[in-house]
Amino acid sequence: MTAFFLIFISAAITDNMLLSRFLGMCSCIGLSKKSDTALGLGTAVVFVTSITAALNFLVYNYVLIPSGLEYLTFITFIIVIAATVQFIEMVIERVSPSLYGTLGIFLPLITVNCAILGISLFMLNKPYGFIEAFVFGFGGGVGWMVAIMLISAIRERINEQAVPRGLEGPGITLIIIGIMALAFVGFSGMIR
């Protein structure tokens, strides 16, 4: 149990996709203006990372390695992610139209979010089993969601302040992300 907890914490905080690895920046800057949207996108990311990390684990270990096609890892993972996102979108649409209303427009964006691919690829560097891979994906997603929520909360306040013109929008956001990343450096090395 402790092992799972440690994997979760390391994926969510010490190896935070957004603030330590700087992955998924495009959608983060684009959709962090309001916390509702950030929460919507964050939830969708958690959903997709958990499932795709587990699926990609299976595809890698039981399809790519046995057939000696490891060099196709990247493209295979991208196809798996794209198909999974499509599938999840259909299931959500059928099962819960209200959740679909909130997540619907974010799901297609996630197909091209590099944080998702990043989580699946980093997972390969670690000696994980199937459940650990799932926990790692879930943790990575949660970390990304927490980070975008924090950024959006700060941006909501900044929107009411006078920001120098050249720094409005993405400019000031990148600076904030940089400062937050410095804070997250403090976590590094906490879990080996």
């Binding site: 949207t37 096609l69 060099y71 196709l72 295979t76 499509q86 649409e93 139209p97 209200s98 209303g101």
Partner: protein, 366 residues
């Protein structure tokens, strides 16, 4: 090397096929809503549409032409309809386009509402008779420096039935960096001319649709027009009428007057047409000729900024002022106005001050 490329290609193709098959199968199984009953205007009309698609396209397939310019992307907000039940939650795409008032009244963008089951919707009745016509521009004539006349042949459906005063929606095509848009133009043609429509288009600086008409559209080009829309038109009474128009507000009256001539109407009409200078006047000779043909018709062009020494012997001043001083007793009249919101508001103010009841004033603001 070659074998690696071949293996990789085969592997990717096979994987792509497997995933596509799974997704197609899932789509059929998961997103199958069957046939859905759509009840329109409290059961007045009822449609059975295959579920899973969007409401706008479902209605279009059943020949109910909800206006739409953006092709269902949720960016033009023309396709608003009331969805009383079965519409599901509001999507984030719709939110920016709906006022609190509209949300309370269940107004939705029909291009964003998916048909997932039985629905009850409400659409304006006039939309039932509206058709989208494929057309060809047969004639384009410059009336003034910024106003063009278009004569458009209807190809399919090839006829249109409307009342003089109604308008159509003209679709511009994409050009340069501009997207396709829809703009409303009053019909200036005579309703008996059922295979053609005529429009009077003023070039609005930086206007997407009117710039398209002026700079891109050529005689012989194909275009799309949907209609007829609107309630504006002559009443059935025989009360003396005052027409007041500015600029391209001429259009509906040009249609109405020619229609009156055709049907031999005897109604008393005084038409005040406002323009800035002489170069902004058009159809003047034709209207002067109509004065002779229609027994009780008088045409009064008014210029607001014509130089004093230009030799203009007609009325000068704002069209509202001229109308007010020419017809002192208004009480038993009806007034028909077409022009900019500013002009119409000023007219309504002047006319009501002179004793014309508000319900006797009919207008078309653009």
């Amino acid at each position: 090397m070659i074998s690696a490329i071949v293996t990789a290609t085969i592997f990717l193709v096979v994987m792509g096929l497997i995933f596509s098959a799974i997704l197609l199968f899932a789509e059929k199984k998961i997103l199958n809503y069957g046939q859905c009953e759509i009840s329109i205007n409290g059961g007045e009309k009822s449609l059975t549409i295959k579920g899973g698609g969007f409401l706008l396209s479902g209605l279009l397939e059943n020949e109910i032409y909800i206006p739409s310019a953006c092709g269902g992307r949720g960016s033009c907000a023309y396709c608003k309809v009331k969805v009383h039940s079965g519409g599901g939650p509001l999507s984030p795409v719709e939110e920016p386009y709906l006022s609190p008032e509209e949300r309370k009244n269940n107004v939705r963008l029909s291009c964003q509402v998916k048909i997932r089951g039985a629905m009850a919707i409400e659409i304006p009745k006039e939309l039932f008779s509206i058709k989208r016509h494929k057309c060809r521009l047969v004639h384009k004539k410059s009336l003034t420096h910024d106003i063009d006349e278009l004569r458009i042949e209807l190809l399919s459906p090839s006829t249109i039935a409307y009342k003089a005063g109604q308008y159509v929606q003209l679709e511009s095509n994409e050009y340069g960096k501009q997207e396709k848009v829809i703009r409303a133009y009053s019909l200036s043609s005579v309703p008996t001319d059922t295979h053609f429509v005529e429009l009077v288009v003023r070039h609005v600086p930086n206007g997407i649709c009117s710039t398209w008409v002026f700079d891109v559209l050529k005689e012989g080009d194909e275009l799309f027009v949907a209609g007829p829309y609107g309630e504006f038109g002559l009443s059935d009474t025989n009360a003396p009428a005052i027409f007041i128009a500015g600029g391209s507000g001429m259009a509906p009256f040009w249609g109405m007057l020619r229609h009156m001539k055709e049907s031999g109407a005897q109604r008393q009409v005084t038409y005040f047409f406002g323009a800035t200078t002489q170069r902004d006047l058009f159809y003047i000779d034709e209207l002067k000729a109509l004065e002779k043909e229609l027994p009780n018709f008088r045409f009064v062009p008014c210029l607001s900024a014509e130089p004093q020494d230009s030799g203009w012997d007609g009325e000068r001043g704002l069209v509202t002022e001229v109308a007010a001083r020419t017809i002192p007793e208004l009480a038993n009249h009806e007034a028909y106005l077409c022009g900019s919101p500013g002009m119409i508001d000023a007219c309504i103010k002047t006319l009501t001050e002179r004793g014309l009841p508000k319900e006797k004033i009919f207008f078309d603001k653009f």
